[in-house]
């Protein structure tokens, strides 16, 4: 019988091609100054650019696409790890409160203590996300395991609501910084430059490598906590290590482009449909898919009310929220 399922490597290759196509389109589409598709390719290897178009591609579009790729891969990997750790198909950074917590940390530092600068606010985002995540895990009885899927999600939603209210309060009280924080909260790649890229890639590399290393253990967790323990998995260390990775991935992504939601929920499911249940396979696929999704929605976000930009976060939420409902409806809770 001829199997219609591609092999793993063929899938990766096809997806990488798709990612390349998305990125290329994103380099030249919807520009006020005409950029031809050829210009986009030229600017990649041509260092002394001779036209404005190539300048735009090299200085604005290229870092934006690269940051989008990394953010997408980060969030997708974080979603896979979270779903693996909690054994909960609804888990993702935005649903379980990490996004809102990181936003709160970021907003408080950049309004109350702006002298901390970019690094300070990244650290604040990671700490804020970590605190929110810890609360959600404790209150959602995630440590007990078992069939408490709904409880964990509701705890995440309540913590998100709390963090969102506090964030709004911080913004309103510290008015002068408000505009910047508000744009950032919507989640947009508009301000991604080479500087953002430089601060993002080391963390991204460590995080994604760590995710690949933890993948085999996540496979064992699928057998249930007790079986995993019998197979020699130290649950506490896996959960701590996994949570740390999630924070690293989400914190770095969020502090560079803002609260982009629902990638972490959407992509792992898509990847699982393509590559099956083995984390070693569907994790890399999820990373590429996440990158495609973010780059694509960033491109769409520029065109939707051209020439003004709609934050990519809003577009992703529009796709992600119905999918969330579909998941809730499909699972028996």
């Amino acid at each position: 019988m001829i199997s219609l399922r591609f092999s793993f490597f063929a899938q990766c290759l096809l997806l990488l091609l798709l990612l390349f196509a998305c990125s290329w389109i994103s380099l030249f589409s919807w520009s006020v100054i005409t950029v031809t598709p050829a210009d986009a390719l030229h600017a990649l290897y041509n260092m002394n650019q001779d036209s404005i178009a190539q300048h735009i591609v090299h200085d604005l579009r290229l870092p934006r696409v690269l940051v989008g790729i990394m953010v997408g891969a980060n969030l997708a990997a974080a979603g896979v790890i979270m779903q693996g750790l909690t054994q909960n198909p609804l888990a993702s950074p935005s649903v379980l409160g990490i996004n809102a917590g990181a936003a709160l940390g970021m907003a408080s530092v950049s309004t109350i203590a702006p002298w901390f600068g970019l690094l300070g606010s990244s650290i604040a985002a990671i700490i804020g996300g970590g605190i929110a995540w810890a609360f959600v895990m404790l209150l959602g009885s995630a440590w007990r395991g078992g069939n408490e899927h709904g409880r964990l999600v509701l705890a995440g939603v309540a913590i998100s609501a709390l963090c969102a209210a506090l964030t709004k309060a911080v913004i309103i009280i510290a008015e002068d910084q408000a505009a910047g924080v508000l744009t950032w909260l919507a989640g947009s790649l508009t301000d991604a430059r080479w500087q953002t890229f430089d601060s993002l890639w080391p963390v991204c590399l460590i995080g994604l490598l760590g995710a690949m290393l933890i993948a085999p253990t996540l496979n064992l967790l699928q057998l249930g906590d007790d079986n995993a323990r019998n197979l020699g998995v130290s649950l506490m260390w896996v959960k701590l290590g996994g949570s740390f990775l999630v924070l690293l991935l989400v914190g770095s992504a969020i502090s560079s482009v803002g609260a982009i939601g629902f990638v972490g929920l959407l992509v792992p499911h898509m990847a699982r449909m393509l590559a099956g249940q083995d984390h070693r396979k569907f994790l890399p696929i999820a990373m590429i898919l996440g990158a495609c999704l973010v780059v694509l929605s960033d491109t769409v976000s520029r065109g939707i009310i051209y020439p003004a930009e709609t934050p990519a976060g809003a577009i992703l939420a529009l796709i992600g929220a119905p999918f969330f409902i579909y998941l809730v409806r499909k699972r028996t809770l």
Partner: protein
């Protein structure tokens, strides 16, 4: 026993009413408030045009949202349910933002009706997705997911139509800022729903015995359920249309009240209205006086109180 706390609630509400009139960016001494009601007095503008309508509005909206919460919790018998948790408030919000962005010149007095349609659609959507026999958690989680959907649609509309959005933004934070006599007048017809709600108290008690017992006692369980939900939707929609989605108020007030006066709906419903009014008056007072002249929307205050309470309920729900 149960009624003993009612006088205290009434006293607390009157105290808060007076405090709301007295404090703000400028404090007005108690004696001068009554004088402020007369035209020509130095405080006339502050008291009569600004604080008085706002205070009355806070009281009414608090009472109505709490009543809606008590009705929903009464018929669904679900401690985590309330119009805002189930996405009904967000549905109303989405409809209103849609109306404001696409018909910027339209008559604003239609807003409650539009919001009503939005929340009805949201309620039907929930009903369609969940059916009537869902578990507590599933119902809450579907409602929350729907609320997330409406919220992202609202964000999207606001980002796509940035010019028409000033009105919507002012309104969406769940605040009493800038609301006056006009808004109060828009709310008044909806007060007619309150006697209907109170009239349902007795059958609501009976349905707590379980559907079968209630039916054998002559209650039409499904009809009661639909009536109560419809009234709750109407109450919520009218409040949301005027003040924006004030989160968690409909969830918290009925619970607090049940602790104070017990579960008999004849007492529970009026007492819930008192507690809701007290909570919103308090939230608005704190929101206005915490860091004047900046105002925090009251919706933020209710969320800061309400979200931890929701978590606590969640922990206790089996």
């Amino acid at each position: 026993m149960a009624t003993r706390s009612l006088p205290f609630l009434v006293l607390a509400m009157i105290g808060l009413l007076i405090a709301n009139l007295m404090f703000g960016a400028v404090s007005i001494p108690f004696k001068q408030i009554l004088d402020g009601l007369q035209i020509g007095n130095e405080h006339y503008f502050t008291v009569h045009e600004y604080r008085l309508p706002r205070t009355i509005l806070a009281m009414l909206v608090g009472a109505m949202m709490a009543l809606a919460g008590a009705l929903v919790q009464g018929v669904i018998r679900n401690p985590l349910a309330s119009p805002d948790v189930l996405g009904v408030s967000h549905g109303a919000g989405l409809a209103a933002v849609f109306y404001m962005t696409f018909f910027p010149n339209a008559d604003i007095s239609w807003l409650p009706a539009v919001a009503l349609v939005g929340s009805l659609v949201a309620a039907l959507m929930l009903w369609w997705l969940c059916g009537s026999h869902s578990s507590t958690i599933k119902l809450a989680i579907t409602g929350v997911a729907l609320a997330a959907l409406y919220a992202s649609c609202i964000d999207f509309l606001m980002l796509v139509k940035p010019l028409e959005i000033n009105n919507a933004l002012l309104w969406l934070t769940g605040s009493l800022w800038g609301r006056g006599w006009n808004q109060l007048a828009m709310l008044l017809p909806w007060l007619l729903l309150i006697p209907f709600a109170l009239w349902l108290a007795k059958p609501l008690n009976l349905i707590h015995l379980g559907d079968d017992s209630a039916i054998s006692l002559g209650i039409k369980a499904n009809k009661l359920r639909l009536t109560s939900l419809a009234i709750a939707v109407g109450l919520t929609a009218s409040c949301v249309a005027i003040c924006g989605p004030i989160g968690f108020l409909g969830l918290v007030a009925p619970h607090l009240t049940r602790k104070l006066v017990g579960g008999r709906h004849q007492i529970l419903l009026p007492a819930t209205m008192l507690v809701g009014a007290i909570l919103l008056l308090l939230a608005d007072l704190v929101a206005r006086t915490i860091d004047p002249p900046i105002e925090l929307p009251a919706g933020i205050m209710t969320a800061i109180i309400g979200a931890p309470y929701f978590l606590w309920l969640l922990l206790r729900t089996k």
